[in-house]
Assembly symmetry: C2
Homo-oligomer: 354 residues x 2
């Protein structure tokens, strides 16, 4: 395993406060330097100057001390895309790598894209739901930046961003939810529409346009203008809490009305995970999703949940290549994925249905 | 378990001389009494007289001593159809139960339908391929019958039967083959055509018009007129031996060229068999077929083969009802089937791929 792989796979064991339904939450702030051109208008030397200024300023922020800085251009393609799979940077950030730098903490809970669409895209990540604490932390970085750099801000509009849809707070908050019961009972369309009506957006596992693989849905705010950060986070938080309630209620309904389906699908999925020698990504996600549900319902040990999150991360295409330390074609990835799954699930205890 | 179930499920452990590819062989002779009307023209009292005469004569045959006689009308519907699943009688025999009797030995290797389409349909069954021994045994019964009853026979045509397609030898010989490698490598159509050209017929698991579930194919003779029994059996035997060679060669090719597919499909099938809580018949047959292949290839203990035959028998719809001792609807059957499979395959050792 090379240095990049070691860095990537060191587990963030610091936070294991997993709760059912919520996979992770993120808050992202978009910021730009007042005196520099937006990235899309900047030349290479501009971008280098911006990168240097941002990194200098960020390095002095106590919360970021000892962070890693990676120049995207120094990484192999699959190393870059593994960071997207980890939600540590955007797809776009891996395509446009001119002076693009990624700063991230060892626990990978904070990552900052420099020279993406905006000069700075700062993201804080948690494997649970605690917007208040997250917002305080990212605010600390934001305040530090404002003290050390001249950040583009307009009294009337708020923070200025490259794309008008981010003007205002420059904030996007999102929560990844695991909603198997709503899926089983075919309630997802209703949920997506309800979320939209409230001014928020529901998407699949990898953002806009992606399918709802494994019953994972991401709920995020649309609006950045005209509302305060605290308002947005509090409304999103309320919505998420109602969705959690719905999902947990629907799980009780599934246990009452679809118990054979539930046992059968969970039992088969574990059998397949233990027996496979080639596994496509989407099948793996769907099987692991059922194992997460099994863990939530205590058919599997509840403390397995954190490991399931880790294994789901690892079996993504670019992660597999990082693990193998070489490019793999689709067939090779399927074999490697199956190998990891088979070995992991061999160590998982048998299901205990009540 | 009631008496019928006990009789049905007593294992015929006497013959465990299983060979790969061949599941079972059967020889069937159609005979009619010379002085009685064919079944379709006979009235109830004719049929009763025919039944009594046949049973009296058969009871005295040494090879059949201590055999069981069942009046089909005394059985429940699912009990009757369980006998079809066991290939001990025909589907038609369970529909037209007027004075229909089934005589069968304890080891279930000989079964004789009385008042099916012909007065007598005598069948000998083996879980391997040994036509010579089988023909000797069934001939012994046939000779005994001829000595004790006046059997309809014409010097020119041979044995006379209700349907002209059986006239002559009145013999049908068939072999059930398990041909997974030919299926995997998409050679089945070629095989079916080749068999047809040679004047024989290839069919799926349950005779004419049935699908080739689980890669099981039945090869049987078409012709009954103009060839001696020995000629037919010797030609069929030669064909079967070539098909076995083909299948075994193709298994080597599968192991060379499709090894990941093979491991993956066998591994998943065992996982599903161990994890399922509801299983449709066709899925069960396909999964067990892969376990048979695994056993042949020594990924599972080779001596498991006999038990796999037994479990495949048991998980058929009517067998499940006999086991439960009550009628089961489709959903109940799927649950019961999964229960049997899950419990059995929990005791099977893990796969050992080389």
């Amino acid at each position: 395993m090379n240095d990049f792989a070691k860095k990537l796979f060191q587990n963030s064991k610091s936070v294991v406060d997993a709760i059912p339904v919520v996979v992770s939450s993120r808050i992202r702030l978009a910021r730009n330097l007042a005196d520099a051109k937006f990235v899309k208008y900047a030349c290479k030397s501009d971008l280098r100057m911006i990168a240097d200024m941002c990194i200098d300023a960020l390095a002095k922020c106590p919360i970021l001390s000892g962070s890693n800085v990676v120049a995207m251009g120094d990484l192999l393609e699959y190393e870059r895309t593994s960071l997207v799979e980890r939600h540590m940077c955007s797809q776009e950030f891996t395509a446009n790598i001119n002076e693009a730098r990624l700063l991230f903490t060892d626990d990978q809970l904070i990552s900052i894209m420099i020279n993406e669409e905006d000069h700075l895209r700062m993201q804080i990540f948690r494997p649970n739901l605690n917007f208040r604490e997250m917002f305080d932390s990212i605010n600390e970085i934001d305040d530090h930046l404002s003290e050390n750099l001249d950040i583009a801000f307009d009294e009337r509009y708020g923070f200025l961003t490259s794309c008008p849809t981010n003007v205002g707070t420059g904030m996007r908050a999102s929560v990844m939810l695991h909603l198997p019961a709503l899926s089983i009972l075919k309630q997802m369309n209703n949920l997506v529409l309800a979320v939209q009506k409230l001014g928020f957006v529901a998407r699949g596992l990898f953002g806009e346009g992606s399918d709802s693989q494994g019953n994972f849905f991401q709920i995020s705010n649309q609006q950045t203008l005209g509302l305060s950060e605290v308002d947005i986070l509090s409304r999103l938080s309320q919505i998420i809490k109602s969705i959690i309630d719905y999902e947990l209620n629907f799980r009780e309904i599934v246990k009452k009305e679809r118990i054979v389906w539930l046992y059968d699908n969970i039992g088969r999925a574990l059998g397949i995970l233990r027996g496979c020698y080639s596994m496509a990504s989407v099948d793996a996600i769907n099987c692991i999703s059922l194992m997460m549900l099994a863990s939530d319902l205590e058919y599997l040990p509840n403390d397995l949940r954190h490991e399931l999150n880790q294994i789901m991360m690892k079996m993504q295409g670019s992660h597999l290549q990082v693990l193998a330390n070489r490019p793999l074609n689709a067939a090779e990835r399927d074999i490697k994925r199956a190998e990891i799954l088979r070995e992991f699930f061999a160590t998982v205890p048998n299901l205990k249905f009540m």
